[in-house]
Amino acid sequence: MPAKLQKLKGTRAYGYLILLAMVLFFYAVFKILTPDNFGSPANLYSYLQSSIIYSVGGCGLYFIVVMGLFDFAVGANVVLSSIVGVILSEHFGYVGFVVGCLGCGTLIGLLIGTLYNQLNVPSMIVTVGLMLIFECVAVFVAGGVKQTLAPELRFFSGAPGNIILAVLAFVLMYFILNYTKVGTYCNAIGSNEFTAKNMGINVKKYKLIGFILLHFFVGIMAILTVSYGTTMTALTGMTTMSRNFQPLMGTFFGVAFRKYGIPISAIVIGEFIISIIFNGFVALGAPTTIQNVVTGAALLAIVALTARGARGSVVK
């Protein structure tokens, strides 16, 4: 490794360099394979627009993943909050839409966090159980009908509305993570829960706040999702599970690049990389199964290369 690069190791600049190199690498691969269908400036802009939706969810997930928790009810909440938002928008316009999505999302976070604390069982189990319930509630609320956002309420469907909202979410995330007790305590609990307790940190309270924050961000994600797609259909049978993974991939990037001090940028750029890979395969005309295999493998490779534990360390 050149001496100048060696000096950069561990710095923010080094983290950004790795992310930039990944973007360029995947862009170059697909551009070479399918130069006509992939990677025009208009295409890249489109990839960015779709990736920022997941980035917002990824930011929310970061609060709990950093504490060692998981949440599989994100997708179910996106569907339920979108439906509630759309229904309220029919009566109260933008206010109903935004308050509906954010309010429903946040309430779900409160419910999940409370149940997690009270039941004292792993977060994965609590959220899988609640995911099934939320899916049914969404079907009930929607009345089995596809909910469509009125055309006059689609400010967030594209630029600049979606970009403005996403950037506001990222700024909020940055502020909470770096300049509030909540962000600091989330990191402390993730680092050593027992020590955190000894230091007087109310671990249960901050885990609850973590879930509330996550689902507040999921509420924002719901606004962006239903605005982008214009409709939302409630389905049961764990169909919302697939909606969990794309935000989660961004979160993994964030956790992996935490050591460089750039978790939020890593979530955003990481989602963009995932978007490039997905769209690259679409441009190649690859079947969905192949797309999923390669995306999964790429994610594993990226996280293994960037977040690998120290030699001899125990990874669970």
């Binding site: 300049y179 007790k181 402390a188 020590t195 307790k197 000894n198 007087g200």
Partner: protein, 513 residues
């Protein structure tokens, strides 16, 4: 000359190791004689661990040679070292506590017979091994049911079973009682007679003089002294370690305790290990020591006072007010602070930097408006680094980059940021070198002079006698007595610590050896 060389089992010559521009080992020379015990001392950060890691292949040395039994070696990892006759018994034992002694002994090398584990052979070989070492161990007992010292013995036996020529013992007595230490030393002498060499890493001078034939001292990555123990003395070793002389091991305890401020009355705990009916008073500006054998309940007493252990009965009064804390936050809000025994497990956030670890307990003080002020946090950390004389590059250093002693100073600094009135300290100098210990003693006395009330738990008899005003002696979950430090001696403390070991004609507390 050849005879002399044949007598040396391990020879390290000109070994160097650097991390970046930081030279951690600087042309180290060391000879360990066959069938001898070599003490290895040095302040935290002197390079002892790095030297051992280079020896065991965890780190690759930059320069120099390592000769084992006349052959140059360069191990790629501890397993290879073990298979070639060098073993290490770590301070924190790496064992599978759920498995039994046999499993731990043969882990990774189970003897097989017709495709299945040959348990009969394991038992035969293990019995023979323990007989040879003059040890009585229940081979099928899960490790978690055994005392730390017994587990340590099993670890040493494991090293011997690999036909180790050299065994490195890293701070082996840090969790042992006096009797257990005696048993360990007996075993070490036994190994020595069998021609096995031992390297004994310790901060405890008296143990070095008792058990070691030779002693070597590392300071700032350099081997500054190697002597026969009978030809040196404590002052020379301390001077070699810290680079200056320490005339006394303990600073003068010249604080003047005032009126009673803390009163513990009939305190008992709900869950095991139980405390029973403990009562005592502590005065303002007093250093109150808590002594007792391992398992006597000293840690549990501090934890109960701090609100992290469930109280069954009793009351704690501070400044005349009832303060039965239910959690650590309540305790902190009332001016209490607690330094825990296990620095890494319960005292530090190892993923954080110095600023994170220093400011975490007191975040409300670093707010500007609704936001945390990074500037205030860094400033406070820099101040604590200065006050505590913490050796580091600055507030942004990773906590893991610091030596044990300096990490402990960060923990002290963290609590000092809250300006506590009552400081509960559980083994505050455990695993810390003599220089850093002295600084911590000075700090404790300085705080007492400032009117802070200090309760300090220590397993080291000289320490508890050297820095306290009074000592409460715990025995089997009870307070066996309170003595004035100036009027007591080691015999009285030992007698009191055994006071409640016999109840109803039956020994309730056992040294499981």
């Amino acid at each position: 000359m050849a005879e002399q060389e044949a007598n040396i089992v391990l020879s390290i010559r000109d070994m160097c190791k650097s991390f970046g521009r930081n030279r951690v080992l600087d042309h180290i020379d060391l000879d360990v004689k066959r069938g001898s015990i070599m003490g290895l001392m040095g302040e935290n950060g002197a390079g002892k661990s790095t030297m051992m890691k280079c020896l065991f292949g965890t780190y690759q040395k930059d320069e120099g040679t390592i000769i084992l039994d006349g052959k140059e070696i360069n191990f790629s990892g501890p397993k290879m070292a073990l298979e070639n006759g060098i073993a290490m018994v770590h301070q924190e034992l790496n064992q599978c506590l759920e498995r039994n002694v046999l499993d731990n002994l043969f882990l990774g090398r189970y003897p097989m017979k017709r495709g299945v584990v040959d348990e009969a052979r394991m038992k035969t070989e293990a019995s023979e091994l323990f007989r040879r070492l003059d040890m009585t161990v229940n081979l099928t007992a899960p490790m978690k049911t055994m005392s730390v010292s017994a587990r340590q013995m099993v670890e040493i036996a494991k090293a011997v079973s690999y036909n180790a020529k050299l065994i490195v013992l890293d701070e082996p007595t840090s969790s042992l009682t006096v009797k257990e230490v005696a048993k360990l030393f007996e075993m070490m002498r036994n190994l020595k007679e069998q021609g096995i060499s031992l390297v004994y890493i310790s901060h405890k001078m008296d143990e070095i003089f008792e058990i070691c034939d030779e002693v070597s001292v590392l300071r700032d990555g350099k081997m500054v002294l190697t002597r026969e123990t009978k030809k040196t003395n404590m002052n020379e070793l301390i001077a070699a370690m810290v680079g200056r002389t320490l005339d006394n091991r303990f600073p003068p305890v010249d604080n003047h305790p005032g009126e009673t401020v803390l009163s513990v009355q009939n305190l008992s705990t709900k869950f095991e290990p139980k405390l029973l009916d403990i009562s005592f008073d502590v005065r303002k500006g007093e250093i109150f020591g808590l002594y007792g054998l391992v398992g006597a309940g000293r840690t549990e007493l501090l934890e109960t006072m701090f609100g992290v252990r469930t109280r069954a009965a009793g009351r704690v009064y501070f400044n005349g007010r009832l303060i039965n804390f239910n959690n650590s936050r309540e305790a902190m809000d009332h001016g209490f602070a607690m330094i825990t025994e296990e620095r890494k497990a319960t005292g530090l956030f190892l993923e954080g930097d110095l600023t994170f670890n220093t400011t975490i307990t007191n975040l409300s003080h670093y707010m500007t408006g609704i936001a945390l002020s990074k500037e205030k946090m860094v400033k406070a950390t820099a101040n604590e680094i200065n006050v505590m004389h913490t050796k580091c590059m600055g507030p942004t250093d990773a906590i893991t980059a610091l030596s044990g002693g300096n990490q402990q100073k960060v923990i002290f600094g963290k609590w000092l940021e809250r300006a506590p009135e009552v400081f509960l300290m559980d083994e505050p100098t455990r695993g810390i070198d003599v220089g850093a210990k002295y600084e911590i003693y000075e700090l404790i006395i300085k705080m007492a002079k400032m009117g802070k009330t200090i309760i300090v738990v220590s397993s080291e008899m000289p320490e508890i006698l050297g820095i306290t005003n009074r000592i409460g002696v715990m025995s089997n979950g009870r307070l066996a007595g309170i003595v004035n430090t100036k009027e007591t001696d080691q015999e009285e403390l030992l007698r009191l610590s055994a006071k409640y070991l016999w109840i109803g004609g039956e020994m309730t507390w056992k040294i499981r050896m």
